[in-house]
Symmetry: C2
DNA sequence: CCTTAGATTAGACTCAGTCCAAGGTGAGAT
DNA sequence: ATCTCACCTTGGACTGAGTCTAATCTAAGG
């Protein structure tokens, strides 16, 4: 898997310091940051990055398929760089931590499809993580 | 299944016209309205209902388990009165229409649980409905 | 009827996310 | 190496869903 930054350059993106630091934050499995978390990470390296640029960059990466956008129950969106490896999620409902999990996609029987054309399926396991369980 | 209104009264809720009209809107399968849709329905019967009361009532019904809250990708929450019958969802990504579907819950193998205590699982089929498919 | 705990209300407020117009800059062309 | 401009970044105004509050109202038990 080529690094995200190389793939972006190959698509003709101008490689600015802002985009570089955002792309570097968005790497790995089990990475599911909110826009504000990405902004904080980016500012540790490049303190003057603006919120608008983080939103611009994340949205563009989502629209070209280099990031997945996950809508969390708390309303804020999360961004997931793990697009190469189809997966689902395990979510701690207390602290919001989210892990990638691999499980077979469920399928709908014909009569349950109601004539819809299925595009994909999302599975989220709601759970309590070991840290939150022991804190309770 | 006793009607929602009776269950609410039995819990000691004061039965006001506002609550009655909101509870009447929240009945049936395949019902997944936003707060604003509930408000519009309520105002057709009782024009002076306030937005605050709709939000108060929906949130209270969710917290006592008489409604499910579904966070849609567009950010707005949907409210689902079908709590008696465990089910999952089939969502048209174009028009947002959402149907109840019945499919076996997927399960995580022990090594995929990462030590989490699983509370439940949500499955959403992303799809295009027949109306949106023919419009395209 | 009275009474009052609980319900309703308008509008101010919060917070994530979008939009805009002005100024800045990466990188291809010379 | 410098020029150029299409593209990028920025602060701040704006939007829209949802929450909060303080004043007013009312369902229902005695
Ligand atoms: Mn993931
Ligand atoms: Mn449903
Ligand atoms: Zn946790
Ligand atoms: Zn549709």
């Amino acid at each position: 898997m080529t690094p995200l930054i190389d793939r972006l350059r190959r698509r003709g993106w101008r490689m600015t310091p802002q985009r570089r630091v955002i792309a570097e934050a968005m790497t790995g499995e089990h990475v599911h940051m909110t826009a504000d978390e990405v902004l904080r990470h980016a500012r540790e390296v490049l303190p003057e990055v603006s919120r608008a640029t983080v939103y611009n960059t994340l949205n563009e990466m989502v629209s070209i398929g280099e990031l997945l956008e996950i809508t969390h129950a708390d309303g804020r969106k999360r961004y997931d760089p793990n697009v190469a490896d189809h997966h689902h999620h395990l979510l701690c409902v207390e602290c919001g931590r989210m892990l990638d999990v691999h499980v077979d996609d469920p399928a709908l029987t014909a009569d349950q499809q109601h004539g819809f054309h299925i595009l994909g399926v999302e599975v989220t396991f709601r759970a309590r993580c070991p840290e939150c369980a022991s804190a309770a």
